[in-house]
Amino acid sequence: MPGLTIDRVGMIYQLPGGGEVEALKDVTFDLKPGEILTVLGPSGCGKTTLLNIVAGFLSPTSGKAVFGAGEISGPGPDRAKVDKLITGPGPERGMVFQQGALFEWMTVAENIGFGPKMKGVAQREINGVVERYLQTVGLKGFGEKAIYELSGGMQQRVALARCLANEPDLILMDEPLGALDALTREKMQGLILKIWNETGKTIALITHSVEEALFLGERVFVMAPRPGRIHKEYRLPFARRGLAESLRDIKVTDEFTEKREEILTLIWEMEEDIMGKAELADDMGGAPPGGGEKQGEHAAGVGGKEGGGL
């Protein structure tokens, strides 16, 4: 299965009234096949932008995103063909959005079978696929229901199943559980881990919730805004543990709560920094000098703790 390489990716939005927003700056990372990554960060730090670049909806203003390097099909080491630069959306990269991306005019089964159907798979085969993924997401017997008859949590299960039925190698999720209540959310977190385990897919998931990021991420990126960048990376054991242990048990362990507090503190400091910068900018009537470096120091300070207990 192919991996993902993000190489010094930058994204600058041109605003309609002139002016620019540097949504991403020098973002570099690799995602190996089968890894599960969660991305945390304050609103506006470029998480969605990053995911849209990986999905192929946006092309970055600098750097490159490569999916599936090393996939050589024919003879001859043609570099251009070896690197699969991301130039558009493709079915090998599936996406689960926040609520509202299902097709209301189709039944649950038709939504799930959409991908195979577009490929021209025979209806009988599609029916089998739909049944299988209804089972996977715990919605057996709901195939003929209309989308609007389902609760928010069930709708997101359908969205997951629809994505899985298309058999992508990489699954991208942009705050998929953001609109769900706490209890449903925990159940869905368990489901995502189960799917990760059973299918071995590579998953990248954006979330606002620190707990969710810790629980689902083998790797966790904490991003910082203005310019959007990866502020700090963690490698955590909780996702793997979640496969065997109950999620509730893990969430009350000292190790988990410690990490949670650490990241919360990190984000708090980041937010305070942003506020401070904004005030400073107001006072001086201009951009603050060296604001970015100040944030760098914070990262180093907190970073010292990383790895302890892992």
Binding site: P91, G94, M95, F97, A101, W105, F114, G115
Partner: protein, 282 residues
């Protein structure tokens, strides 16, 4: 008995009976069939009483019975060479032809405007210029060009429906959530599939709303067009009857238009509920 009362909206049933707050609850204001009947009865009663009290000259205000008599007369004997039903049929033929043509041209045009910069830019001046012109202002021109036959009426109705449908289809296309489009592409859909499986069905609710509005505009245009130059049709019947002070017949025409218009709207609402059950629930 209770069932009948419930149907009339005189007793609360089911969920409504369990709610202790009803004032302000939109659901509580539904299903007042009884009061609709009362309303019709009161209108007929006031009308009859006004006639009986000779408040107005029968030339201005014929009695309900006169109107009914006229109705029977035109329904069987006809008026100016056509029965009431023939007048109605010719009007409905013009109405539906113009309306359907307007939809057939307007919906694809609105779609293309919602999907492409080129067509949007190209059609924008035409649409923006033509849209504010009331179809009635075009009656003389359409008669000069197409005569007083069906063609000029259908042309006007076509125009009346066209701009409404163009705007409805355009906004239907543009109302889509980008994530639906993105989802379709990541699921491997081609452009054509995105159009037919996602954009088109997503626009249906607005297209339906547009069709109901267009139908209303068409009725207004139809009667006006038939008032000016025609030799048959409900609008024609009303005009001629008015000229000869056959007020009861004018009433017949008006009531028929009202009833048929209401029936068409109810039909379209039913069709809408059947075809797009997700409307307003997503």
């Amino acid at each position: 008995m209770n069932k009948l009362l419930a149907k009339l909206g005189l007793v609360k049933t089911g969920m409504e009976a369990r709610k202790s707050v009803s004032f302000g609850d939109p659901e509580a204001a539904k299903g007042g069939l009884f009061w609709s009947i009362v309303s019709i009865v009161v209108i007929l009663a006031v009308w009859s009483a006004a006639v009986a009290a000779e408040l107005a000259n029968p030339i201005f205000l014929p009695s309900p019975l006169d109107v009914l008599g006229q109705f029977k007369m035109v329904a069987t004997d006809g008026f100016r060479g056509s029965t009431l039903w023939e007048h109605l049929a010719i009007s409905l033929y013009r109405l539906l032809t113009g309306f359907v043509l307007g939809c057939l041209v307007g919906i694809p045009m609105g779609f293309s405007m919602g999907l492409s910069k080129i067509t949007r830019g190209y059609f924008d001046p035409i649409v923006e210029f033509m849209r504010p012109i009331p179809p009635l202002a075009l009656i003389p021109l359409s008669i000069i060009w197409l005569g007083i036959g069906d063609a000029s009426k259908i042309f006007l109705l076509f125009l009346a429906a066209l701009w409404v449908m163009v705007l409805a289809a355009r906004s239907g296309v543009q109302s889509i959530r980008l994530s639906k489009i993105h989802a379709a592409y990541t699921l491997g859909a081609s452009k054509k599939q995105v159009l037919t499986k996602v954009i088109l069905p997503n626009a249906l609710p607005e297209i339906f709303t547009g069709m109901r509005v267009a139908m209303g505009v068409c009725w207004g245009t139809l009667v006006a067009a038939e008032l000016v130059g025609a030799d048959a049709g409900i609008g024609f019947m009303i005009t001629v009857a008015g000229k000869y002070l056959e007020t009861a017949l004018v009433f017949v025409g008006i009531i028929i238009i009202g009833i048929i218009g209401a029936i068409i709207d109810v039909g379209m609402r039913k069709l809408e509920a059947k075809m797009i059950p997700w409307k307003g629930k997503a």
